[in-house]
Symmetry: C2
């Protein structure tokens, strides 16, 4: 039972769109990720998704609007809602999600990470 | 589906040891709290607990050691482990826990918040 320092963990990887597991509790995973560029539009049929911006600016394109999430802000995307994350510059995010969540949701392509790495 | 700004939400309350609900997903709650002073030693029989320090320094007394959690750090306390949070100065924390989690766990006293407020 040791504390986790987000900055230290963020220094351990540099690949984009590849969430790393940094904690686990109650069937949920705590993940850190770096985003840059445009991700694939997707949805999760059975999981709500949480994005907290640690550093940078994250835009999320939703069916009816675009939301800009700044440092110190989070958004919850309910299950079933299509969304497309876009990071014009590098963004660092904290994710809380069930163990079952696949990063690309109902879309499978070269960005899909079937088994996220633990760091 | 709107973004949540932690600083804005933290500005809405000033009471200590009284977590406020700011988000909900997958049967879990996102809460914000301010701590100052010593909390009651307690444990949660069925829930793991997550403390992320947004501002300040949080000490947690565990059965065999004390952990100091600084800004940008988190700790997960596994279910069944006794812990006593201590904040020498005001601390702002983000909590991520199941809807069933009671702040004082297996201990009930004047600090117990049966129904956390939503802000």
């Amino acid at each position: 039972m040791n504390k986790i320092n987000l900055e230290q963990k963020l220094g351990l990887f540099s690949d984009y769109w590849s969430p790393k597991i940094v904690g686990e509790l109650n069937g949920q995973l705590i993940k850190l990720a770096k985003f840059k560029g445009e991700f694939v539009r997707h949805k999760h049929d059975n999981e709500d998704e949480f994005f907290y911006v640690i550093k940078g600016v994250l835009k999320i394109e939703l069916p009816d609007k675009e939301v800009t999430i700044n440092e110190g802000e989070f958004i919850i995307i309910p299950r079933g809602i299509e969304h497309k994350p876009v990071a014009e510059e590098e963004v660092h995010v904290l994710l809380f999600e069930p163990e079952t969540t696949l990063n690309t949701g109902d879309t499978t392509n070269e960005l899909t990470k079937e088994i996220p790495e633990r760091i």
